[in-house]
């Protein structure tokens, strides 16, 4: 038996969505979250940008004019002609590297973002909801993971690891990146949990899992999705940072390694601005697309915020 208060406190169930969006959701065969995000202008721009990046990543072999690793061209060419963005100091085509670099970043963001979100959600939810000794133990783990400074830890692990490469970087990001999200989610649950409607649901005898997934999760959707987008963005940024520091495998093609090579081969001195600038801007644009999507995310669990 649900109390009226509890009913009122569940915005998604209780409030009808504004007409247009609701109608669109009904009309469309797409998942409702896509429609909701699409309805928001900013997240629509974000989705389009992200789509472009994914397109480039998937069709990189068709889009790139050259093999990004081949060093056969003249060195340090200025932009123009066969090399629209010029060549690197070791004679690689910069545009092709940029195109292939999208692959690396997308993969890192997707994989590391998913892993990080999954761990964070699992730990955060469990700790925040169950409380008691489970919370004590998990909070302890969260705190432990939080107190180890993340970037230095990443650098340490990556610097000392016997193997180098993308897998290591994804691994390092995943094991060091989850605690923050877990902490925030736990905190959110702590406040949600003390809401009356949850109390009511508990008194009504609803099972824990049901409360977590049916009552709490919908209210946390924006947090989870935002968490994923944040984690993916963080992972893409961290990957670039670690590669820039030379802690990745410099023979892989990614925006981070491009910056690493550009910086270490004196791109600024030889005046190759594009070599240094383009990967940085590409990273920024990809991360921007994720953040823009995030603007529509709050509408997922809060219908009042949906745009018409």
């Amino acid at each position: 038996m649900s109390t009226p208060i509890g009913q009122v406190a569940k915005p998604i169930d209780s409030e009808p969505a504004p007409g247009d969006v609701a109608a669109a959701v009904r009309r469309s065969r797409l998942p409702s979250w896509v429609v909701i995000l699409w309805a928001n202008r900013k997240s629509r721009i974000g989705l389009i940008m992200l789509g472009l990046f994914i397109f480039v990543a998937v069709f990189a072999p068709l889009l790139a004019t050259h093999d990004p690793k081949v060093t056969d061209f003249a060195q340090s060419l200025p932009p123009g002609g066969a090399h629209p963005l010029g060549t690197t100091a070791s004679g690689q085509d910069i545009l092709s590297q940029l195109v292939y670099g999208a692959r690396t970043s997308i993969v890192v963001g997707l994989v590391a973002g998913t892993v990080v979100t999954f761990i964070a959600l699992l730990v955060g939810l469990t700790a925040g909801y169950l409380q008691g000794w489970v919370d004590e133990v998990l909070s302890f783990l969260i705190n432990l993971a939080l107190v180890v400074p993340v970037l230095p830890l990443m650098i340490t692990i990556a610097a000392y690891s016997p193997v180098r490469g993308l897998f290591l970087i994804i691994f390092v990001i995943s094991i060091t990146g989850w605690a923050w999200g877990a902490r925030v989610k736990r905190a959110q649950i702590l406040t949600l949990r003390s809401r009356d409607y949850i109390t009511a649901a508990r008194f009504a005898g609803e099972g824990r899992l049901r409360i977590i997934f049916a009552e709490i999760m919908p209210n946390m959707m924006s947090l989870v999705v935002a968490g994923f987008l944040g984690a993916a963005a963080g992972a893409i940024g961290a990957e670039a940072g670690l590669e820039f520091l030379g802690l990745g495998d410099p023979t892989t093609v990614s925006w981070g390694t491009m910056l690493y090579w550009a910086n270490n081969s004196g791109a600024m001195l030889t005046g190759q601005w594009i070599w240094l600038g383009a990967p940085g801007l590409a990273i920024a644009l990809l991360l921007s697309s994720l953040t823009l999507i995030n603007f529509g995310v709050d509408a997922l669990s809060n219908p009042h915020l949906r745009e018409r």
Binding site: F140, L259, S288
Partner: protein, 331 residues
């Protein structure tokens, strides 16, 4: 009360675990500090006379005994506050090195962190309040893009444009060297002048996280019933924004701020490295690069304690700001 006691107990327990972790992590890694040190001198890839390595090992007084004995020694030393001698800066002690680096980082990051938090939270709250308005769009889109620029990249661009090309600022270092460090206005002026670019490259991106966090949280709380109820009751909008939405929405940001204070070091490693800023981040990176175990461990430890304390404060603050949490723990 129980809530606060349990937080303090956490603090102690986590401290112990972190101290132990600090002991373990450096030891899991390959690499012999003596060899690294000689290698640095000989030039990498040179073949090295084993006698030289032995000699340096003697000089460094490398840890001996079983791993357990080393652990006990380490714990005792930590309690005594004796962190040993730095390998890289032999014969100077770790404490000496940290004492020299710490003020730089505290000032640089303290200032940028607080500024970033304040600016970010205010902008975020304002953007959420006027959501989907012009202000929101400008702030959101602007910070979206700027916030995603890799900050090591920003740092490089700043160096090139403002320091190298325009020569408005020095391109590296914490002070010029012409003036010896001292409690003088000349030195402080020089240090501030040198600190502007590093601070700027941190400040450009620093508020972004807070803007986003605050905006999203506040947008969320604005949709809550109590806010709408308050508005329905006819309370003034500003009052609603500040006392209802903002107060709840700021909670995760407060946690974030406390933790952010602790991870100060991490965030600045790259900026300090690029600018050659004489702070903890640079010291730590050098320590890692040089397998300087004592220095590395101690910096880790300091950071860890910093985060722990910040964490404790956040928890206590949380309890104060959101009485429900405290009540929950008591039942």
């Amino acid at each position: 009360m129980r809530y606060f006691v349990s937080r303090v107990m956490f603090f102690v327990l986590t401290l112990w675990a972190a101290v132990t972790l600090n002991f373990i992590i450096p030891r899991l890694q390959p690499g012999d500090p003596a060899q690294t040190m000689v290698q640095r001198l000989a030039g990498q890839s040179e073949a090295i006379d084993p006698a030289a390595i032995r000699a340096v090992q003697i000089m460094l007084g490398l840890p001996t005994g079983s791993i357990f004995e080393q652990y006990v020694d380490y714990l005792q030393a930590v309690v005594r506050g004796d962190f040993g001698i730095s390998y890289t800066y032999f014969p100077y002690t770790v404490t000496h090195m940290i004492a020299e680096a710490l003020p730089w980082t505290i000032v640089l990051v303290g200032v940028t962190h607080v500024l970033g938090f304040v600016i970010g939270t205010l902008l975020g709250a304002a953007a959420a309040w006027k959501r989907n308005g012009k202000f929101d769009t400008v702030v959101s889109l602007g910070s979206t893009f700027i916030g995603t620029l890799p900050f090591f990249w920003i740092a490089l661009i700043l160096i090139y444009v403002l320091a190298f090309t325009l020569r408005w600022f020095p391109e590296a270092g914490g002070y010029s060297g012409e003036i010896d460090p001292a409690w003088s206005w000349a030195f402080f002026g020089d240090a501030i002048y040198h600190g502007i670019l590093p601070a700027l490259s941190l400040l450009i991106t620093a508020p972004i996280g807070w803007i986003m966090g605050m905006r999203n949280n506040m947008v969320h709380t604005l949709g809550e019933d109590y806010t709408r109820l308050a508005l329905a009751k006819g309370l003034r909008q500003r009052r609603v924004a500040l006392t209802y939405s903002a107060r709840v929405a700021i909670l995760p940001n407060v946690t974030g701020f406390a933790l952010g204070l602790g991870t100060i070091l991490g965030g600045t490693v790259m900026v300090e490295m690029i600018f050659g800023y004489p702070g903890m981040g640079k010291l730590m990176f050098d320590a890692i690069s040089n397998r300087d175990y004592p220095l590395m461990q101690t910096i880790f430890l300091f950071t860890t304690i910093g985060v722990l304390l910040a964490n404790l404060c956040a928890d206590i603050l949380y309890g104060v700001l959101d009485p429900r949490v405290r009540r929950e723990a008591q039942t």
